[in-house]
Each structure stands twice: as C-alpha cells, then as structure tokens.
Amino acid sequence: MNLVGLALRNLKRRPVRTSLSILGIGLAVGSALALIALSRSIKDGTREGMDEIGDDLIVMQKGASDIFGGFIPEQTVERIAAISGIVRVSGELMMFAPSAPDKSVIALGWPDASYLWKKVPLREGRIPQAGERHVAVLGDTAAASLGKKLGDDLDLLGESFRVIGIAGYTTVVNRGMVMVPLADLQEASYRPRQITIVHVNVEHGSGRLDLGPTREAIEALGNVTASTASDVLNNDRNFAILEAVSLAVSIIAVAMSALNVLNALIMATQERTREIGIFAAIGWSEARIMMSIVIEGIMMCAIGCVLGVILSFAAALAFPHIPAIGNLISFKPSVGLIAPVLAAAFALCILGSLFPAWRAVRMLPAEALRRL
C-alpha cells in the first residue's frame, strides 16, 4: 500500500462520480485539442496551399484585413511585372462563392495567360483555352464534394460553368478550390477589372534569396503590400480571430474540467473527513495527507487526458467529413499541439486538487474524527 494505491482505491470507491469526472476532463481536453487543432489546421492548410502554388511574394491591398478583404486594380499586375528581378506575376480574384444550395467553395479567377493555369496538376480534362469562357477546373475534393465530373455544369455565383478539368493538388485547401477564367469571376461577382492578390515569383540567384528590395519596389507602387505567404497568414485578422476564439474556448473548457476535479475532490474529502482525521491521528504529516488527495486529482486528470487525446483523434477523423468546412481541414494532432494542452490540464487539475487538500488538513484531527 502506498499513496498511489490508496488514491486508486478511493477513486474506485465512487465509480460513478469518478467516471463522470474523468469524462468531464476527457471532453474538455478533447474539445480544447480539437478546437486548437482546427484553427491551426485551417491556417496550416492555407499555408501549404500557398506553398504548393509556389509564390515568393503575395501582393495585397495595403491595410487589407485578410486575404479576401482587399481589392487592387488589375493593371497593377503589369506594373509589378515591370519591376527588375521579377520573373513572373499573375493576378488572382479569390472569394468564397456559393455553389450548390448549401455549399460554397473557394473560387479563384485567373487571367487566360496566367502561368498558374500551366501549373495546374491536371488529373482529368484540360485547362481553359485563351478566350474560352464559363469553364471551370475543379480540385478533386471540390469535385467530389459537389458531385461533379467532366462535362457537368457547375453553378457559381448564379452563373453556369462547364467542368472541363479536375486538378490533383496535394494540399487540402487547393484540392477544394474551383478555378475559372478571371473575366468570368469578375463579371459574376460584380468586380470588373479588380483582383484580390498578385502572385509574384522573383529571380532566384545562386546565393540566398533577398526579397527585401523587391518588396520595397512593389510597395513603392502605392497602396499595396508585398509579403511572404507566412506573413500574409500571420497578419490575417480572420485567422487571428479564429485562433483567439479557439484558445479562449479551450481555456474555458480546460478550466471547467479543473472545476470538475475540484468539485469531485471537495465532495470526496468532505465525505472522508473522518478518514483524514485518522491519517492525522496515526502521524501523517499535512503534506502527506494533502499529497494523497492531490494524487487522486492527478490520477483523474491523467486518465481524463488520455481519453481527451483519444477523442481528439476521433475528431481528427470526423472533421474532414463536415460538409461546410471539411474540404478546408487537415487535422494533424502533434506533440507540439497536445503537450501544452495536457500541461495546462495537469496544472489546473493540480490547482483544483490543492484547495480541497488544504481544506482537509486545516481541520483539527479531533474535530475530523467526530464527523460521521
């Protein structure tokens, strides 16, 4: 018999309460992990998508709150292309566009001559020919999600597009996109001669790539900013809000689980006041008595955390099947994600255990022994 054995025996003594407390911790930890992973996965997925496109710089309207939120004139593309050291550029109009009644997709509009068309990893069909209108190339996940195949008609922003190609991108975000000619998307969205971003590739010399001068030259054109994909995402207000909300909800969930432990242990120690008096009467120190109670909290937390991690993995499998957002999510539980959440859960559970433990040893042993 040791303190761990004693704690285990006490937890088994009230199986329903112990199970419910552990379930509470598990759900809280699972929710926290799922929420944080969700926000991270959307950001990471977008970053991976941008990397797959292969931009060195992305040009946006100065002060735009997010990647969808700024508009720049289409002719800016030519002015950027004229800057020394830039090898290719392409404008892009990007937006969430309604398609089927309850579905929306990320729609991208590219100019006919854009190099981006040539980089599309076609799995089936073809890319639009110069001047061809009302045609679309779908990422394979988007095609599957919308139930479209080559030759089908796709409704986008109230306009009809014929599916002429299916792309086999590797990243989750790109697999869920729909690419159409820029002029069609501008017309359908009432954004004539406007684009949201400019993709920029610069000349890669033999040495380390210094994007600074190119950025300065682009930004000197006025009312635009040039950033790397990472900077774009880090400055994106939507992602910032998503991360803040996820973190706040996670903190609340984990704090609730600590309160759960606190409540369970307060009840347990109140019921066992007499036993705590016995421990004191046989010469257990306050520290030892407190430790025996805190160990109970830690054990509940440990089992709850294991349950939480299992639940988060289950969520990882389930998220991609959520119709509205599933094609944007690539949930990857990692040590870097799980460790801080578990550390926070343990820290809060230990704090939640210390209070009932402290309360228990405050009472005089003689008084504790008089309790029923």
């Binding site: 018999m1 040791n2 303190l3 004693l6 025996r9 006490n10 088994k12 003594r13 007499r274 036993e275 008096g277 016995i278 421990f279 004191a280 009467a281 046989i282 010469g283 257990w284 120190s285 306050e286 030892r288 005089l364 042993p365 003689a366 008084e367 022994l369």
Partner: protein, 252 residues
Amino acid sequence: MIQLAEGPGVNEPANTAPLIALRGISRIHDGGAIAALRNIDLQIEAGDCVAIVGASGSGKSSMVNLLCGIDYPSTGSVLWQGQAVQTQRSWTRLRRDSIGIVFQEFNLIPTLTVLENVELALLGRGMAAAQRQARAAMVLDRVGLRPRLNHLVTKLSGGERQRVAIARAIVNEPKLLLADEPTGNLDSVSAATVADLLFELSDKTGMTLILVTHDDRLAARCARTIRVRDGVIVGDTRDATASAPIRPAAAS
C-alpha cells in the same frame, strides 16, 4: 526477523522527566460556553498504566485528545519528556513515532485490508514496501490476526477490528499507548480479549498505557486511576497490587 522491543527504555538515555504532562490545561468550547477541561495538572510516568475514568461528558476524551495533540488546549501546555510540545509538526512527529491511539469506533479505513490498515501507520518512515508489510504482518500475528491479513476490515467482527486498531497503534513501537474506551463498542467476550491484549502489550513492552474507560473493573486493572468529573480531576489513586498483570479470568 523484526521484533517489537520489549522492556522499558531500551537503548535510550535515562530521562527523569515524566513521559507526558499537562500543565494548567483548560479546554473551552463554543466561545466559553462549555468548559470540557478546567485547569488540569497531570503527569504520567514512563511505563505507567493509567486509567482515566468518569461519566459520559466528564472530559476524559478531551484529556486524551490533548495528550496526543489531536486537539489543542485553550490555555496551558502539554510537555513530552519535559519539553513543551508547541507545534502541529511536533505533534505529528510524536504520533508517528511515539504515541499510538486506539479509538472506541476503531477508526479503520473501510476500503483497505487488515494488513493495509496497519501498514498505513508505517508510511513516511522511509521503509520499503516489503519491510512495511513484514512488520505489519508481524504485529498482526501478535494480536492474533495472521489468518485475516488480506481481509477487508469491513468483513471483521468488532473485536477483530479493535485488534487491527491496536496493531496499527503499536506497529511503530510507541512509548505511549492511548486507548479511548477501547471496549466500549464490543461484546463482553471481545471486550475482555481486547483488554487483555492491551494489558499484555503494556506489561511486556513496558509502553505507557493510558486507558479511558467508564468501566471500573477495567480501571481496576491499572496501577493508577484518575477520576474526572465536570472537566476537573477529582481523584488520583495508585493501587500497588494492580500493576497491570494479565488476568485471564476477566475473559470468562
């Protein structure tokens, strides 16, 4: 083989001070409304066998609680071997190493086995688990519970439970064994067995025994009897013929 030390003062320097003493002790409850003990002076010598007797509510248990530090006096002090015991930590150490307590209600942990209940008193003494278990088993053997080691205490009779409590109280080889109405919840046969066990332990090991009882026959087996009434000591007598011999006849 682990042995309980027998005889008083084994390997210890002589100490002329009483083992434990109460000096001007009062215990007031409810803001002065109830005086459980009033201005008590008492000293107990090492190796003594003392009965504290009195009616219900007379203050006997309050005195025992103060003698083992599970309650604090409102005024006065408790001295252990001449030194005032002033902190909770000091009392905890004394209860761990030098004072064993047997309660009327047994006060065992119901979810644990007989062996585990006794082993609990050895936790925190730096002993390995196997050593703790061997020692607990040896003491339980001594109180006649060897066959019941792995039984839950809830499966035992009252007399057996009290013997577990006695084993737990003596497993640390205390200098002082306090027994608060140890036979109060037992039938007459179990009561006699438990009483015999306590006197035998006191006699063989030389440990000081303070026995709280309202049973005059049990008190008569102690060398010294202290009578308490309304929180005051009203009698303190010594019977040279008692000296805690084992009296098997009591069992019958």
